[in-house]
Amino acid sequence: MRVLHYVNQFYAGLGGEDSAGIGPRMLEGTVGPGRLLAQLLGAEHEIVATLVCGDDHAASNATAAQELLEMARDAGAEVLVAGPAFGSGRYGLACARLVAAAQSAGLPALASMHPDNPGISDAGEAPVIASGATAREMRPSVQRLAAAVVKVAAGEELTPADGKVTPAARIGQLVTQRSAARAVELVLRRLGGDREATEVPVGGFGVVEPAAPIDKAASVTVALVTEGAVVPAGNPDRLESARATRWLRYPIDGVDSLASGEWESVAGGFATTAANADPNRLVPLDAARTLEREGTIGRLHEEFLVTVGNGTPVATARRFGVEWAAELRKAGVQAAILTAT
């Protein structure tokens, strides 16, 4: 079978973060992890070409996946493979979107990434094969991926035994005992010695690998971002007040302060009286602008990014984070101040 392999700019050998903005392109034959993949696939399958896109470009351009898919079709792809993306959010999102687009267009496709990769929820109907968390686990990850490709090429279904990620869903259901009665039952079970009893697992912490510090704020571009739902008065773009499905951007070049009456918060989760009386209480534009003028901030990014963090599912919020990171990197921003409510 004719296999096309997708990797990001780094694994294609085209450069690191400095090249993350490059657009979709196709390279002949295999590169980087594709060589190992080709070797493991054996003689029956050939990686005819490698698709590449910069992570920032892929994560911040909705059309990138479609462009890559068209290239794959032109190259006569019969199977599309993406990754492994390990734990990298932007790369994972790029892989997920591409295989989702391919699968829904009838081209068998699969991606490889760590099960905690924020991009995983965008893979749609396409299977995702678990990789390790980092490139240190390249070999076992590609081995597993190669075996899965062979199965997909043979038209077989992938199962968790193949490393297919099947997120354990928690299903809501109606029960006869109302929640208050179950709370009393649970208290009694715990008092009775069953200290592990709970309806939802407790504990567990988010782990975010901190970015390296910047050298001096005076020499970089700094962005303001918020989940406080600050929008122009009247909410022309109809940002949701809860359960965000999207984020927006508003230009602030030449604006010294967010004036009351011109900007408002449409967040539904907290009292907005104070913020609407002075929207700088949610996005500190006036102070940041002063610090820019004084030279403490090199440059303030020309727009701020905004969504509403009110009842937004964690998976959605993580995806927004990946997209914001790509967006800001692409624009040359090196630090961001996120105001949260």
Binding site: G206, V208, P210, P213, R281, A288
Partner: protein, 64 residues
């Protein structure tokens, strides 16, 4: 423990209330301006500091 720490935010500058992360309506206007400036200054100090896990930077305090 704050939500910011629990979700793993690496660099955290505490505000004074959920409805006004970069303000404090209890202060007179000049005092609030000063506070907001301190918050942003503190955030800038935070992004120039290496951290390994969720770390709180208090505004109005000098960070070495």
């Amino acid at each position: 423990m704050t939500i910011a720490e629990q979700v793993g935010a690496p660099r955290i500058v505490p505000g004074r209330g959920i409805p006004y992360p970069s303000g404090d309506p209890s202060l007179p206007p000049a005092g609030e301006q000063q506070w907001r400036r301190q918050l942003v200054q503190c955030a800038l100090d935070a992004v120039t500091t290496a951290v390994e896990h969720p770390t709180i930077f208090e505004a109005g305090v000098v960070h070495a």
